[in-house]
Symmetry: C2
Subunit: 478 residues, 2 copies
């Protein structure tokens, strides 16, 4: 056996061991059905759900595949019907995310995303901090419609950050501290802040919206989500470059070589194309319609679909682009399947049982204080997870349920768990696709990443609790 | 302007003219809402449905895109809710087709489909008629699980037919009558017969199942569909090579050079791979489970999903294969959207109105005779359509509704429209993907294709009406 096939064997072996652990956990829980007061089918769904979430952490196989496997086990065992298992694939939020993935694909294909980022660098990049603001601004603008923080961070910004750092004479092995460390950290953390600010900022965000709906029966949709985040989010983005400049000071101050590089890259792109213009108009249309629902009544998903149709009919994107957008279809399966399970946990009485039990066993702290304490625990529990999606899927619902039992203000609870769900990705260097990519650029060492990450986590606590609570008070959320 | 951009301009122009025609037709119908007894929203759905079907015929843009556009118009106009518009994406039949597309992809990727076809050629191909039987047999076997007749005909068989013809010294410009004409015709017509025999034989077949359910409230699912077709279908496949040998006689009788070519191609493929073996086991498992529902109770879709999961966990296919299977996701959108519209036409009362009106205006012929007359009209109306899918989507539902009002036996009516829906593709050289591909091989001229096609249509009438009725009598369907 040669080395490569040996390695493959080891990989296979470890993959199947991990899968086995997930199955074992699921089966163990499964057989415990009936030993407690949870309705048997609700408990079985819970068993499969936990096994699936565990597979998100251990990653024996891609998450979409594990969700599908979980659903098939539930159908084949007669726990749920086929129709129930498919319901998530017709969920309006899932199709909002799919539409947003299609828009994100068009942003990359038309080149408009890249052009906006480069243009901001050209405007703001006189100094190294200006460059950092350019990245923050670009993340903010693009997060409004690009639900894949990986596409945004990894597809658009990380390559630009890399080429800017290089043009400033900062290389992985030679003077990374000149600009590379600073810019990678700004890019990564700006990505997470932007992800937290919009329901369409990250693919898994709708899971929180769904949990809020299940627990509190209130809509924490695109508009409400953005409204609650806009003030603390912008404050965080404004301070971030300064903070990181303290934590990992760039040794160069001047940014004009990076500006030159941006100008070269822009020239390489040529004049604004017809498709970019259409994309720009569609984006403006999209944001206008999203923020003026009170005038026309079109829901968020409907508006996103209209935008997709406009891009298709004007040929700014082709139908082929749509059906080959693998991230969109991957998300359909995992997000749809996960929402199905969440729905069923509610429908079959698991959530109710959970809430009643928590209600019976906790006491003392209630209201706002309870939300904040739980929020902080939720935030730092991310250290135990390998990815944001698993963390959200496993923890957001139960934590919100506990807030509910402790009489936490609904909108504040929703806000804390919605925003912390993305922000907590700051803690590690493997929490989310773009974080892995930024870390993978190779400027920042792992210890540095963790120490800066921890400092940023404290920063988030201050901003989102202090500024956040103030803003949410003004909004009348408590 | 250079020629290519001029041509592009012409193409654009004609595309938008066609789109305009569809819109105009839709709007004209739309404004007529309220001028008849049809509930206004039902009529509006009908208007959009007709515009979408027209777009299937004129083809300004891909069909999935037009279905999506139709849905968005219905949502944005407030005719239907967003939730209603998405319901088709959670339809069990749609997911059966998606699962079957994933299996079809695995059949092609693993090479098993090609190997089965070549192996049959090696076994049966001593004579030219033997080669024809090899193709018929392979189409039959693969149609059980490959729902894309295009993937089956165009992806697996047409390339083999072409290389067999060449190896027999038959080329497009030199001695096409030696073998090329004969084999292309056999391949094309065998493909349609195989498509008609299984609900999973062609992607649009479930539309008939759905219409049967709507009109008669009976299940004409995978098992029933195959049961009704197995006898007439096999008789048709047995006679087909002889008939085409009369209509377009091959001048060569000996097939052993083709056998040598098949043997060479098989050698090129190497020994049966691990993935092919897994695929073969999964196929057998699939057919066993599909035909033994009475033992275990698993539905068709559940079984197909189990098969997909087995292929994924054994790594005979990867998750990447799943999410990049563009035909599957294209089908999700167009088939899901179309079933949604069909559902809504029923729900909002259009079908009822239509049936009542037909009931009031027809008389005379009833029962079996009515089914057969309508079936024949349905069959030959294909001449007016550019593709099978459009024909089925537009005509199958209404014709079944008329059969219902004329007291046609439910299962016979279902059978006639189910099987004729695919068989009628024999009439033209552009009726379906694989037909276009076989015609595109270049052996058969258009006039020849049409004359042979017409003869085959008469052949189908005899087989499926005579043998069919006899078989359906035995089954107790009338």
């Amino acid at each position: 056996m040669n080395i490569s096939s040996h390695l493959k064997g080891v990989k296979n072996h470890s993959q199947y061991s991990k899968l086995f652990i997930c199955f074992l956990l699921g089966i163990t829980l499964w057989v415990l059905a009936g030993t407690n007061e949870v309705p048997i089918n609700a408990w079985r769904i819970f068993a499969v759900f936990i096994a699936v979430i565990t597979s998100f952490i251990l990653r024996p196989f891609p998450i979409g595949m594990m969700v599908l496997t979980g659903l098939v086990i539930l159908i084949a065992s007669g726990t749920i019907t086929l129709e129930e298992s498919l319901s998530g694939f017709a969920d309006a939020t899932v199709w909002l995310v799919i539409a947003a993935f299609l828009l994100a694909g068009a942003m990359i294909n038309t080149g408009l995303g890249k052009r906006i980022a480069l243009w901001l660098v050209l405007r703001l990049g006189k100094t190294i901090k200006g460059l950092a603001y350019a990245i923050c601004g670009s993340e903010f603008l693009l997060a409004t419609v690009m639900p894949s923080n990986t596409a945004r961070g990894g597809g658009i910004h990380a390559p630009i950050v890399n080429s800017l750092a290089q043009s400033l004479g900062s290389h992985q092995s030679n003077k990374p501290d000149r600009a590379g460390i600073f810019l990678s950290l700004v890019g990564a953390h700006a990505n997470l802040i932007a992800a937290s600010m919009f329901m369409t900022g990250m693919a898994a965000n709708p899971i929180v919206t769904k949990a809020v709906k299940d627990v509190y029966d209130i809509d924490f949709g695109w508009g409400t989500w953005a409204l609650g985040a806009i003030v603390p989010g912008l404050v965080a983005l404004l301070i971030l470059p300064h903070l990181i400049a303290k934590l990992a000071p760039p040794t160069i101050k001047d940014g004009h070589l990076a500006q030159k590089e941006a100008s070269r890259l822009l020239k390489e792109m040529g004049p604004i194309s017809r498709n970019e213009k259409i994309m720009a108009v569609v984006l403006i249309l999209l944001l206008l319609l999203w923020t003026t629902k009170f005038l026309h009544g079109f829901g968020t998903t409907t508006v996103a679909m209209i935008a997709v149709i406009v891009l298709l009919i004007t040929k700014a994107q082709s139908w082929k682009d749509v059906i080959t957008n693998e991230m969109a279809w991957d998300t359909l399966v995992w997000l749809g399947g996960l929402l199905t399970m969440a729905n069923l946990l509610l429908k079959y009485g698991f959530i109710q049982w959970f809430v009643e039990n928590v209600q019976a066993s906790v006491g003392g702290v209630t209201g706002l204080a309870a939300i904040l304490i739980l929020g902080i625990i939720y935030f730092y529990s991310m250290y135990a997870f390998s990815m944001l999606t698993a963390h959200i899927a496993a923890m957001a619902g139960p934590f919100l349920a506990v807030c509910f039992t402790l009489n936490g203000q609904p909108y504040v609870a929703a806000a804390v768990f919605a925003y912390f769900s993305c922000l907590c990705g700051c803690t590690t260097n493997y929490s989310s696709g773009p974080i892995i990519i930024y870390f993978g650029l190779g400027y920042v060492t792992a210890p540095k990443w963790f120490s800066v990450g921890f400092a940023i986590s404290i920063f988030h606590m201050f901003i989102w609790i202090l500024v956040g609570l103030l803003w949410w008070k003004i909004l009348g959320w408590w």
